[in-house]
Every structure is written in structure tokens, then in C-alpha cells.
């Protein structure tokens, strides 16, 4: 029996403490962003200024780990320089790879910094090997992050037909829409993940206790209402309850997390090269809990030998930090679609 090819564990860091926590708990790579709209987690108080970036990279590199920078939103004409400037800063900092979505920005990065490693962001919406190979042929990307829409067999098909390393989401908040192809937030608030780096941004969110229950509104639009004691979710508009016909239900998606822990041996077998943990907006406590579990699980798979067994405690720990305290295999499990 051949041992599987190594899988990198790629963990989120919204702050320097989260970065250190991820490294200390066994992340191979951490991914992070600058404090602006150049990345898809543009939230108040989150992300890295230059000083924290420099210290974070030093901390990771001293321990032989990598730091990836998400520059995965789409620049507009009038703010183009902010994005190219971010690519330049990344190169100066010695970032191990930049995660990009915009083809123009990729062309810029490839030309200006020929040695900078490029990853295709999930925001690039590349779901087929033809799409991924487009970025490979034109910009020499080394890795692509797949949107959370493909079944396991489809992921395998992609891997078999591209020289590009494939990274998939393993755990965390679940975008039910194809990343990069969702303007729901722009429709409701004028701010979108594509252009502003935020979905359902906090400044448009209001929570209010009313006689009918706890109501959550996005720019005035009622997203959900929770009875006392009922578990709450983010007011992300695709995870609200709405009326369709005579029914009121989670018409698009329940507040739930993606968890593919049980698929890990399969992901390793088909040649997935990296597992991404979602959650740069989450705290260092979340990063610690999730990184620890996934490190142990990946180590167990890579050790080979006896059949892969999931510890009860792992699932309990992951469910605890999940939205809705429940999880799904998402599109990897075909009937979910």
C-alpha cells in the first residue's frame, strides 16, 4: 500500500493571535488579508496591517510554515492601484503565495513579480478543468481552490485533467451559492463579496428583540426571526427563513457548516493537495479548536495502515463551533443538491 501524497492544512487567520494559534496547533499554511476591500473578509477590526503582517510571516517562516495572502476580490477601474499595490506589498513581504480571482490582476502579478506563486481563489468560480487550465495556460497558477459545488466524483475528474494543484474546502461556513457568482448581498445592501469583500455586511445588519421574537434585518429586509431559546444564525441573506408558497422555511440553506472530515481518506486518494478551513472572521478560539482536530485527522490519514477512524470527540468539537451546531457534506454528497 502506498502512502497518500501529503495534504496541506490551510487555516484562516483574521488577526495575528489567530495566525499564531493556527501555527501552534498544526496548520501547514495560514491565509490572511489586508485591512481593506482587497479580500473577501473585509470586516471591521479584522485582518492585518503591515506590522502584524510582517510579524505573522516571521512567526510562520521561523516554524517552517507558509503564509498565503487573499487578494480575491475584483478591482474596479478607479481602485485598480489599490489591488496592484497590495500585490506589490505581498511580494515585498515574502508571502508564499497570493490567492487571486481577477484575471487582469493575475496578469499584473505574473508580469511584475515572475517568482510570486499564484493561487486561483474560490471567487474565480472555476468549476471545470477547462476553466482551471485557462488560468494555468495564461498566468501559470500553481493551485486552484474549488467552489463548493462539485461532487466527489467531479472533483476527481478535475484533478485527473489538470496539472494545477487542487485545494478544497474541508470545514466551515458554507456558501451555498457558487462563490464569485452571487450578487444577493449587492442586491440587498449595495455591497457584494465580489467588489467590496463582504457578504451581508455588519453595518447593514440590525438585531432587535420584538414581541414576535428576535428579528434580524439586512438593510431593512427581514431575514429571520428567532423564538426565545431558538438557535440563531448569521443574518447572511441566503440563510434566512422566507415564505415560499404557503411555507415558511430555510428556502435556500439552513444555518449549518460544511464538514468533510469523514471524506478525508477519499480526498487524499483522489489527490487533493490542500484542505481549506473557512473562518477568517472567527476568533482564535475557533481556529485552535478546528485546526487541532483537522491536524490530528490528516496525520492519521497520512500515516496510512489501519482504516481511518473518526474520534467521537473530533466531531463533537467541530459541531460545537458550527453555525447551527450541525454540519453537512454539501455538494460532495450528491443528494444534498
Amino acid at each position: 500500500m502506498t502512502s497518500p501524497r501529503p495534504i496541506e492544512l490551510v487555516c484562516p487567520a483574521g488577526s495575528l493571535p489567530a495566525l499564531k494559534t493556527a501555527i501552534d496547533h498544526g496548520a501547514d499554511c495560514v491565509y490572511l488579508g489586508f485591512k481593506d476591500a482587497t479580500n473577501a473578509r473585509n470586516f471591521s477590526g479584522l485582518n492585518f496591517d503591515d506590522k502584524a503582517m510582517a510579524e505573522g510571516i516571521r512567526y510562520a517562516h521561523d516554524r517552517g510554515r507558509k503564509v498565503l495572502l487573499a487578494l480575491n476580490t475584483y478591482p474596479q477601474t478607479d481602485n485598480w492601484q489599490r489591488w496592484t499595490g497590495a500585490v506589490d506589498r505581498a511580494a515585498t513581504f515574502g508571502i508564499d503565495a497570493v490567492i487571486l480571482a481577477d484575471p487582469g490582476l493575475m496578469a499584473y502579478a505574473r508580469k511584475t513579480h515572475p517568482d510570486l506563486r499564484l493561487h486561483l481563489s474560490v471567487q474565480g468560480s472555476a468549476t471545470s478543468y477547462d476553466a482551471i487550465n485557462f488560468y494555468y495556460e495564461h498566468f501559470g497558477i500553481s493551485r486552484a481552490v474549488l467552489p463548493r459545488v462539485l461532487s466527489l466524483a467531479q472533483v476527481e475528474q478535475v484533478i485527473a485533467n489538470t496539472p494545477v494543484e487542487i485545494e478544497v474546502f474541508g470545514f466551515g461556513g458554507l456558501c451555498v451559492m457558487v462563490e464569485g457568482r452571487c450578487a444577493l448581498s449587492a442586491y440587498a445592501t449595495g455591497e457584494s463579496p465580489n467588489c467590496d469583500g463582504a457578504c451581508s455586511p455588519g453595518k447593514h445588519v440590525r438585531w432587535e428583540q420584538t414581541p414576535k421574537g428576535m428579528e434580524t434585518r439586512l438593510n431593512g429586509i427581514l431575514i429571520d426571526r428567532f423564538a426565545d431559546g431558538e438557535r440563531a444564525g448569521y443574518p447572511t441573506l441566503c440563510k434566512g427563513r422566507f415564505e415560499v408558497g404557503d411555507e415558511t422555511y430555510y428556502a435556500i440553506e439552513e444555518p449549518t457548516s460544511l464538514n468533510t472530515l469523514e471524506l478525508l481518506p477519499e480526498l487524499a486518494r483522489i489527490g487533493v493537495r490542500a484542505i481549506k478551513i473557512e473562518g477568517r472572521q472567527r476568533s482564535p478560539a475557533y481556529v485552535a479548536q478546528v485546526t487541532q482536530v483537522w491536524r490530528a485527522a490528516i496525520d492519521r490519514v497520512l500515516a496510512g495502515g489501519q482504516p481511518f477512524r473518526i474520534e467521537q470527540a473530533w466531531m463533537a468539537e467541530l459541531n460545537k463551533v458550527s453555525e447551527g451546531q450541525s454540519h453537512t457534506l454539501g455538494a460532495y454528497y450528491r443528494p444534498w443538491k
Binding site: 484575471p103 477547462d130 451555498v176 464569485g180 442586491y187 435556500i252
Partner: protein, 301 residues
């Protein structure tokens, strides 16, 4: 200013679809986009059928474009895509980067394809790159504002036709999951083709009963109908080349006629909007054009 009929986003029975396009042969529309862009399970018309419709419309003097599927997942999706790209007669609208690759590579790359609204082209550097690969028309993402579109055009060193989404429920999001099947507690693979029952998709309301979105299989649309009828002077002033009208369950022909008359100066834009209102399946909106939330109606209807 040309009027383009966007691809049919809903799933109508075969006869309704054929009758619709037969009407379009005589409609005041210059360009017609054809093909299934939303869901690969929809097969009332297959590619050979679409090609037949394309021939008829071409004979009627329309420019026909074949639109590719937005979300490509399976090997069979890729096969269909390859056949569309290799059709040999009609221009192709690329709606994902796989389509761009197929159009722009090989022995005889296409030199006149259309960069679709889902390619996320937001700046001149990116659009130039696609121009170099043979794109000659760009359909702006619906979420782009007038100012953003103008800035992009001003920064572009290429000749490029510009098309904007001018009328219809906004295609806002795509998913692996089918929300129509979900509504009926069915799985996507055994969806019983419930989309066939809804000529304009399924309305979704908030828990206060306010119209919010429209479920259309794996696609989510706005509940409100984005229309730039009331903004036509500004639209014309921008020098946009084409206005896209998205087919709706009823009255598409009348909407096209109103657009044509308004563009030709036969009716003032405010009257055009007023005349169109009873023909819409829901309230109007135009926020995106004005750089606001898409749901907003900036000029009171």
C-alpha cells in the same frame, strides 16, 4: 442602439418556447441569445433544437448568439460546451472561463465571441485581456453601476461593444443546489422538472410578506424587475451599444416594442416606464445602475 433579447432563463414547455421565438422573428429586436444557461437537466430543447431556432431567427434578419451554461460541473456539461463552441455558424457568449479557454485556444480560435455577464469583468485591464483573446462584445455584470461602466470604457484601449442588462428580473446567484426541487422536497437529480410549472420562477417573500427573491432552479433572481426604461436618456448618453431584455413569462414582445419606441424618441422615457408597469410580473427596480442596492427604485415609478 440595438436591443438584444437575453437567453431564456426559465424552463418553459417546448411548444411555448418555440412559439415565443417564432414571435421574436417579427419583434423589434436586433440580437437574440439562445440556449440553456441555467440547468443542464432542462432538455425541452436540446442543442440541435436551439440551432434550428437560430437558423429561423437568422433568416428573419436577427443576429443570433449561442449562450453557454454558467455553472459547468460534469463531463457532459463540458461536452455540450464543446459542441456550442464548435457550432461553426453562430457567435458564442462565454459564461464561464472554460468556455473562454475553448473559444480562444486550438487551431482556429474564435475572434468575435461575447464575454458574458458572469465572467466578472470589472476593470479595463481584465477586459483588454479578453479582447486580446478574441472577445468583441462585453456584457457588463448587472451589479455594475453607470459610473463603473463608464470608467471601464474610458480606460479601455480596445474597440469593444458594450451591452448592459436593461430589463428583467436580475439573475443574482447560481448554486449547485436546486431551490425549486428543494421547495418540493425533491432531490435535484429527480426533480420531476418542476420548473416547467413556473413561467416566471417561484416568488420568495420575507416573513412579513414582502417580495424579495425569485427561485428559478439553481438560479436565484430578484423579485423586483430591474428596468432601465425610465433611465433611457442617461443610458443613451453613455453610448452603450446594446440593451439586454430578459424574457419574461408574458408580454416580452410588448416590452421590446416599448423599448424600441422609447429609443426612437416616439414616447418619453417616463411614459415608457409607466406604460410598461402593468406588463411586469412585479414592481420595478433600478438601483444597480445608480450605484445603490439593486432592490432600490431610484426614480419613483
Amino acid at each position: 442602439m440595438k436591443i438584444a433579447l437575453g437567453p431564456l432563463l426559465y424552463y418553459w414547455p417546448r411548444q411555448s418556447t418555440l412559439a415565443f421565438y417564432a414571435d421574436m422573428a417579427d419583434a423589434p429586436v436586433d440580437v437574440v441569445y439562445l440556449g440553456e444557461t441555467v440547468c443542464s437537466r432542462r432538455h425541452e430543447l436540446r442543442l440541435p433544437d436551439w440551432l434550428e431556432v437560430a437558423e429561423i431567427l437568422t433568416a428573419a434578419g436577427k443576429e443570433v448568439v449561442l449562450s453557454s451554461q454558467v455553472l459547468v460541473e460534469s463531463e457532459s456539461d463540458l461536452k455540450t460546451l464543446r459542441r456550442i463552441v464548435a457550432n461553426g455558424s453562430f457567435r458564442v457568449e462565454a459564461n464561464d472561463m472554460g468556455a473562454v479557454r475553448l473559444l480562444s485556444s486550438g487551431d482556429a480560435p474564435a475572434r468575435n465571441w461575447i464575454a458574458g455577464p458572469t465572467l466578472n469583468i470589472f476593470n479595463p485591464t481584465t477586459l483588454s485581456l479578453f479582447a486580446d483573446l478574441g472577445a468583441t462584445r462585453w456584457v457588463a455584470p448587472p451589479e455594475m453601476s453607470r459610473d463603473q461602466i463608464r470608467a471601464l470604457r474610458d480606460g479601455l484601449g480596445h474597440n469593444m461593444e458594450v451591452e448592459i442588462f436593461a430589463h428583467g428580473r436580475l439573475p443574482l446567484a447560481y448554486s449547485a443546489r436546486c431551490f425549486t426541487a428543494r421547495h418540493y422536497n425533491l432531490q435535484k437529480d429527480t426533480c420531476e422538472f418542476r420548473c416547467l410549472q413556473f413561467a416566471d420562477g417561484i416568488p420568495l417573500k420575507t416573513r412579513e410578506g414582502a417580495p424579495f427573491l425569485t427561485l428559478n432552479g439553481i438560479q436565484t433572481q430578484s423579485a423586483q424587475v430591474h428596468t432601465l426604461l425610465g433611465d433611457l436618456p442617461a443610458v443613451c448618453a453613455e453610448g452603450v451599444d446594446l440593451l439586454r431584455v430578459s424574457p419574461q413569462g408574458q408580454h416580452t414582445l410588448e416590452i421590446l416594442q416599448i423599448f424600441r419606441q422609447a429609443l426612437d424618441g416616439l414616447i418619453p422615457p417616463a411614459d415608457a416606464l409607466h406604460e410598461a408597469l402593468p406588463l411586469l410580473p412585479a414592481e420595478p427596480c433600478n438601483g444597480f445602475w445608480h450605484g445603490r442596492p439593486g432592490v432600490d427604485q431610484h426614480i419613483p415609478a
